[in-house]
């Protein structure tokens, strides 16, 4: 014997239930309609949110675009070099936020010269604050572990001591950029976030031997802005350095040739890799600065194809003498 349910559905309950069912069906239908995609998924999504690095340069002043100061004390030579260019006030205005890009590629102690000298960075920060800068940040995307690079290179401490701020390259600070007319920098991630908040940019680089490109100086320093699998650019190192020199328009570059790395670059690792040349170069034309510094490394301008490439693209001149560099010596 089977039991039968003789209880009928009440009208009220029936209406509520059909109402709920109707809403559920409508929701499923609406969601399908909104999400319906006729096309196949694209292989690679179109680049979105392409950013462009701001132009940080200051107006050109005739015969004040390159200074070369001889001396062994970096704090004195850099002060003199900037003074010759018209003083820090020419570059940093009160209220400016200044970004400094040293070369902090390796977790290597300062005395080995593989990274920008910390005293030099500190001195430039002090000058910026003297000129009324609101804030000075220091950033790089190192090759070795970032926090360790800033700590071991001494730059972290030196910057903190003079009130600067270290910005470590967090992954969400990278945005894709495309260089107009470029062949390599296309939809490529660069360290963008810290620079987008700055209105002045100073590059400070050591002069180093580099087995692949010949040398690592002011132009190669911008390699540290690249993110992603940037090592792939070593297949065409000269072009990428030239494109970086075109893409980045700094306020000022400072090239430290006080002690240059003659061998085993760019990592060095031994004091015997270094040679004292007591030269500090500052200027608005990084091609000219690098061209001059070739002499410190005992190489010719023609040994670095990136220089001619950058010059041809209008990033500067390899004929640094034509800029009538200002010379000085401090003891």
């Amino acid at each position: 014997m089977t039991e039968q349910n003789d209880k009928n559905l009440e009208r009220r309950e029936f209406l509520i239930r059909t109402g709920k069912a109707g809403i559920a069906i409508a929701a499923a239908g609406a969601a399908s309609y909104l999400l319906y995609d006729k096309k196949n998924p694209a292989q690679n999504a179109e680049p979105e949110n392409i950013v462009t690095l701001p132009d940080f340069s200051v107006p050109h002043v005739q015969e004040q675009s390159l200074s070369i100061v001889k001396g062994s004390d970096r704090t004195k030579t850099v002060a003199k070099a900037i003074e010759l260019l018209g003083g820090i006030e020419r570059f940093v205005k009160p209220g400016d936020t200044v970004a400094i890009k040293p070369n902090v590629a390796f977790a290597s102690p300062p005395m080995l010269g593989a990274t920008t000298n910390p005293d030099l960075v500190a001195e430039v920060i002090k000058l910026c604050y003297k000129a009324g800068a609101k804030k000075v940040i220091v950033t790089d995307n190192p090759i070795n572990e970032p926090a360790g690079c800033f700590a071991i290179s001494g730059i972290g401490k030196a910057v903190a001591n003079v009130g600067g701020e270290i910005v470590l390259p967090k992954s969400n600070y990278f945005k894709n950029t495309t260089l107009a007319g470029g062949t390599l920098i296309k939809d490529w991630p660069i360290l963008y976030e810290p620079f987008s908040k700055a209105n002045k940019l100073i590059g400070i680089a050591p002069v180093k031997n580099h087995h692949r490109s010949g040398a690592s100086m002011a132009m190669k320093n911008w390699y540290g802005l690249l993110g992603g699998r940037r090592n792939i650019f070593h297949q065409d190192i000269n072009t990428i350095i030239a494109e970086l020199a075109i893409m980045v328009k700094p306020t000022l570059v400072i090239l430290d040739g006080t002690e240059v790395m003659m061998t085993n670059g760019p990592t060095g690792g031994s004091l015997s890799d270094l040679k004292r040349t007591n030269t500090l170069i500052a200027g608005c034309d990084m091609v000219a600065a690098d061209s001059y510094a070739c002499g410190l490394l005992d190489i010719k301008v023609s040994d670095l194809p990136c220089l001619a490439k950058a010059a041809a693209a209008g990033a500067g001149t390899t004929d640094y003498q034509s800029l009538k560099p200002m010379l000085a010596e401090v003891s």
């Binding site: 992954s171 699998r229 297949q235 085993n264």
Partner: protein
């Protein structure tokens, strides 16, 4: 204050302390980063680590002496560590409370009754200790798999912390990755979820540390027990008994975790923490059957030779297991490593990874370098892992020893292995593309990677001169415009002179000035200048920075293999003179 309140405060304090010590275990100069924080505090209090490493190595590593405090207190008081200190125990305690709080008293009493299966944890303990001591052909330390302190340390540091930090980036600037993290996560989650079935499931049935305490506390001076015989047998005391030790009846002293819930809940104040045995009877010895004892002992004795049948310590050793700098020779290493993951947590580059089982079952969660994870191989000027290791499986080496400086100059730097160039995958070697990223990044001075220059004629690169004007040669063939202008291409004329190409169109090449002008009909060669990397195996320290940086991003074209590692004498590569 009620004693259970005090116990809760103690549990919360130690749990928060544990989390804090996980967070601060990072290299850095902030106050919350490693600056003298005792990050191994819980590991050093853990007597299972101390006893098992003492059994396997026949010495008690200096910092593990702290566990003597736990041992002495346990002998006097019983399993206070489980109920008052252990962060894993506190977590189970809390989850078990949450899961079962709405059950009736009768259900709770049933849930917290004593079960015969609580003896399993003793068999686990016997099994892993047998592996660590009773082995004629070499012992292995596997307590780390289930030791609760190590399990929760590993789970927090390698799984929960990275997940929590993934978006906020407070603990580390960039995401941390850990291989086999999913397995650590699965085991941790399973252990926690088992509380939904039985509260403190892990503590009661699995925990080998709890088992050790259960054995140690048989002489405890103070014990939980009944002080009067006129008990109405309401069983309320068993309603929230954390250990499942039957305080209302014949109390199992070895199962009691000193939660004091029974003492607190008893309306007649019959239960107390006392020196006399319980009036309703007590059992001091753990419930271990003779058969279970023999089987687990025999299992542990046989397990090691069974695992080692794969000959991973002999000729079939795993060359892709690169141990951190200062690690002991493999056999000694396996006697000391407790798989706690502190080295993996502390490593600033994230290159130290929990090992999988492909290097042998014993390798699971031991530290292995994976140069494809992390920010940059093993950093030259870093010895953090050895400093973090609680058992000196990775010796706390100094920078001088690692780099082979000062008094270690004669011994030379610590080698983790040797880098090998895979000439079939390397861009300059096999594809005529300039690269040498590996050479650039080699941190050794002089570099362990050196190059030899060569010029290779490109495909279809033998061209016929049509006409030469100044430094521009018009050619008969068609070549891709602008392809050879990178500064790496040369034009070889007359079989010997090479000139760097400045630019090219489809039908012409402009190079540096020619001394001897090529004439019409003459063949010229289009060449690329390559620097091919070579490894100087006497200089290479196996840091893996080259492997990390190699732009061949899948299977790297330069890879570190463990041959030549300093820690072993039978894996050398070079003939020593």
């Amino acid at each position: 204050m009620k004693i259970v309140q005090t116990r809760r405060i103690s549990q919360i304090f130690f749990f928060l302390l544990f989390i804090w010590l996980c967070i601060v275990a990072a290299v850095g100069d902030k106050f919350w980063q490693l600056r003298n924080w005792p990050t191994n505090f819980f590991l050093q209090l853990d007597p299972l680590t101390a006893i098992s490493t003492a059994l396997s190595t026949h010495t008690l590593y200096r910092t593990l002496i702290w566990s003597l405090i736990t041992i002495i207190l346990t002998i006097i008081l019983g399993r206070f560590f489980c109920g008052w200190v252990c962060p894993f125990g506190s977590l189970h305690h809390f989850i078990g409370f949450l899961a079962n709080r709405k059950k009736t008293a009768a259900q709770k009493i049933k849930l917290n009754q004593y079960r015969k299966a609580q003896g399993i944890k003793y068999f686990i303990l016997i099994f892993i200790l047998a592996m660590a001591v009773l082995q004629p052909l070499g012992v292995t330390l596997q307590t780390g798999l289930l030791d609760p302190i190590l399990l929760i340390t590993r789970s927090f540091n390698l799984v929960l912390l990275p997940i929590a930090d993934q978006t906020v980036h407070f603990v580390s600037a960039n995401e941390r990755f850990y291989e086999t993290g999913w397995l650590i996560f699965a085991i941790f989650t399973a252990a926690v979820l088992l509380n939904l079935i039985i509260p403190r499931f892990y503590c009661r049935f699995i925990c080998p540390l709890g088992a050790l305490f259960g054995i140690l506390d048989r002489f405890a001076i103070w014990r939980i027990g009944k002080n009067q015989s006129h008990c109405i047998n309401c069983k309320l005391c068993e309603q929230s008994c954390e250990g499942g030790c039957e305080p209302g009846g014949n109390i199992k002293i070895s199962e009691c975790v000193l939660c004091f819930n029974c003492l607190h809940i008893c309306k007649d104040n019959i239960i107390s923490f006392q020196t006399t045995p319980s009036l309703s009877g007590e059992v001091t010895n753990p419930d271990i059957s003779r058969r279970g004892f023999v089987l687990s002992l025999a299992g542990g004795i046989l397990a090691v030779p069974a695992i080692r049948l794969s000959n991973k310590l002999g000729s079939n050793w795993s060359y892709n297991i690169i141990r951190p700098p200062g690690a002991l020779a493999e056999e000694e290493f396996l006697k000391c490593c407790i798989k706690c993951g502190q080295c993996m947590r502390i490593c600033p580059t994230n290159v130290i990874q929990p090992g999988g089982i492909e290097g042998g079952l014993e390798n699971l969660w031991t530290p292995v370098l994976n140069n494809r994870i992390g920010s940059s191989g093993c950093q030259l000027n870093c010895v953090a892992c050895g400093q973090a290791c609680p058992t000196a499986a990775i010796r706390p080496v100094t920078l001088s020893e690692k780099l082979g400086k000062d008094e270690f100059a004669a011994a030379g730097p610590i080698k983790l292995g040797t880098a090998f160039v895979d000439r079939n995958r390397c861009l300059p070697w096999s594809m005529d593309k300039p690269c040498i990223v590996c050479q650039e990044n080699c941190p050794v001075s002089p570099k362990a990677i050196y190059t030899q220059e060569c010029f290779n004629t490109v495909r279809n690169g033998i061209l016929t001169v049509k006409k030469t004007t100044d430094s521009t040669i018009e050619i008969a063939e068609t070549i891709p415009a602008d392809k050879f202008t990178s500064g790496d291409y040369f034009c070889k004329i007359d079989g010997e002179i090479r000139k760097k190409i400045a630019k090219n169109t489809e039908n012409s090449i402009t190079a540096e000035k020619f001394e001897k002008i090529p004439v019409a009909g003459e063949k010229i060669e289009l060449q690329i200048r390559l620097q091919k990397p070579y490894i100087d195996i006497e200089k290479c320290i196996g840091c893996g920075i080259c492997e990390h940086e190699c732009p061949v991003s899948g299977k790297r074209a330069v890879r570190v293999s463990a041959e030549g590692e300093t820690r072993s004498t039978n894996r050398t590569l070079l003939l020593k003179r």
